[in-house]
């Protein structure tokens, strides 16, 4: 893919745009079967907007976030991200590792479902690290990390400990703090409130709203209805991009077999691709 120019149809203000994006997995260990995920994905994200990826489980919502963050390669189409420093739209979908790293540092942030803990690194340092790597003074970065973790009600006794032994909700709050501490113009959220209690859920809603007010564009998956209702500006139905549905409708005419085949595909995909993401 050698797209370098923004598409003419895209508004000048968009922070992120996808057009004609297709993704499939070819599973060489399973006889080379091809597992289509999505095709013809198109949307644009603007400042201050919260775009929600909707649709049932397994339809490709998380895959879209991973493509937009560069974790998944795309088969075709274009993903452009506005570079915070240059103001230009950069071709993230092209897969150039150094460009993706550059965009991740300044322009696009991601809060995954699970914290990838690094052995021996304290919760506070995990949260402060994105600021320090962008040149913020380490003491100031830790101060801001402390404030954010306080706001998310993480007991201060845990700040100096590595999160490996924390509960699911505590880990997720560390993860959220790490994602929200910077001011990336684009923020990707993959079910940020999945394992939080009501009080902390409200904190996350407030944090998202503050981001939107500051002009951040948020692209997210929220299974938690109250959270979604509180932050959503616009919803995209990802089932309209689903490639799997169409293929199976052709190859599996019986509705009973259709269902079971879908399940098999989904579990195959999880086995293959969720495994390494610890």
């Amino acid at each position: 893919m050698t797209f370098h120019q923004p598409t003419g149809s895209m508004p000048q203000s968009a922070l992120l745009s996808a057009s004609g994006v297709a993704k499939s997995f070819t599973m060489h260990l399973r006889g080379g079967i091809r597992l289509p995920v999505v095709e013809d994905v198109g949307f644009a994200l603007h400042p201050g907007e919260c775009l929600v990826l909707g649709g049932p489980s397994g339809v490709g919502k998380s895959s879209i976030l991973r493509m937009v963050y560069g974790n998944y390669a795309i088969d075709g189409g274009q993903i452009l991200v506005r570079n915070r420093r240059t103001g230009e739209l950069d071709d993230l979908g092209g897969g150039d590792p150094r460009l993706i790293l550059d965009l991740r540092r300044d322009s696009i942030g991601y809060v995954s479902q699970f914290l990838r803990a690094v052995p021996r690194v304290s919760a506070l340092d995990i949260v402060a690290e994105p600021l320090i790597s962008r040149g913020t003074d380490p003491d100031e970065a830790r101060e801001r990390a402390t404030a954010l973790l306080d706001r998310l009600h993480l007991p201060s006794a845990l700040f100096g400990l590595p999160p490996a032994t924390f509960s699911g909700g505590e880990k997720q709050r560390v993860n959220i703090a790490r994602g929200f501490i910077t001011d990336h113009p684009v923020l990707l959220l993959d079910e940020p409130t999945a394992s939080l209690d009501a009080a902390n859920r409200d904190v996350v809603i407030a944090l998202i709203k503050e981001k939107l007010q500051a002009g951040t564009g948020v692209l997210g998956i929220f299974h938690d209805q109250p959270v979604r209702d509180a932050v959503v500006t616009r919803t995209i139905d990802v089932s309209s991009f689903s490639a799997r549905k169409k293929i199976e409708a052709v190859t599996e005419p019986s509705s009973e077999r259709h269902g079971s085949s879908q399940q098999t595909s989904a579990s195959l995909q999880e086995e293959q691709f969720r495994g390494p993401q610890r």
């Binding site: 560069g70 974790n71 897969g95 790293l101 390494p276 610890r278």
Partner: protein
């Protein structure tokens, strides 16, 4: 983004008679970047590392290195003195077995100080002071400075080897399975230390490992090798989350979930 690479490898090949050690390897490395070379035993990753670092003669291809004065010569075109300077000061090499990178019968302090003396440091007090400082950075107690590495545990030896390599403020470090011989509990400490020192000192690193978790933790980019050839390369996250080549898929699928 820094615009010029510190190292460029082009069409590198090493043959042993008709047997291919590695072939058709090309990549660039930028300052501050960690590149992981992964693959199973016999895939050619250590051969590649040794050819790049000048420990092994290559059969063909180029290895260009950015000198401190900005020149970008092929390593084969350097004088013996220049090459020695690189090995002693500008580069580091962390071996899997610390005994290969340390002098086991001289004191820990001398192991670190020796590299300083090689760059012209002569003041004994200064050398000892710097050595003590580096021991503490790799979490070795100052009172062990006069002990020989033979009296150290495996993890301590590896940390001492790291200190010995970093004391001259090198710009490029080669690592060959740096945590390969260590217990899992000790591995975490060495990894954490490497991770923080690499980012603090803005080092360029080429690390050979068969452990994908180590690659995930330390590297930004990754090269996957099989039978002496690069079969896949790219952003580390991308290669591990969305492996494209059958061999990479096999490697990724072989990690037990935890």
């Amino acid at each position: 983004m820094t615009t010029s690479p510190i190292l460029s490898v082009r069409a590198l090949e090493k043959r042993y008679g008709t047997f291919i050690g590695c072939t058709d390897v090309s990549f660039d490395l930028w300052p501050g970047e960690v590149l992981a070379i992964v693959g199973e035993s016999g895939s050619g990753k250590t051969t590649l590392l040794n050819c790049i670092s000048g420990r092994l003669d290559r059969s063909s291809g180029q290895v260009l290195y950015r000198m401190r004065d900005g020149r970008f010569p092929d390593l084969d075109d350097l004088s013996e003195a220049e090459r020695r300077f690189l090995m002693r000061t500008d580069w580091g090499f962390v071996h899997q077995n610390p005994a290969d990178g340390l002098r086991m019968r001289v004191s820990a302090g001398a192991n670190v100080g020796e590299r300083l003396m090689a760059v012209g440091e002569r003041h004994y007090g200064e050398i000892r002071h710097t050595a003590t400082e580096w021991l503490s950075r790799v979490e070795i107690a100052a009172e062990r400075i006069d002990d020989q590495p033979v009296a150290f545990s495996g993890g301590m030896r590896q940390r001492l080897q790291i200190a010995r390599n970093l004391v001259t403020r090198p710009r490029l470090i080669f690592m060959d399975e740096p945590t390969g011989g260590l217990d899992v509990s000790v591995q975490a400490r060495v990894l954490d230390l490497l991770r923080s020192l690499v980012s603090e000192l803005d080092l360029a690193v080429i690390i050979v490992t068969h452990d994908l978790a180590v690659a995930r933790l330390l590297s930004q980019r990754m090269i996957v090798m099989k039978s002496g050839r690069v079969v896949e390369s790219g952003l580390t996250d991308r290669v591990l989350d969305d492996p494209r080549h059958p061999y990479t898929q096999l490697l990724v699928a072989s990690i037990p979930e935890s």
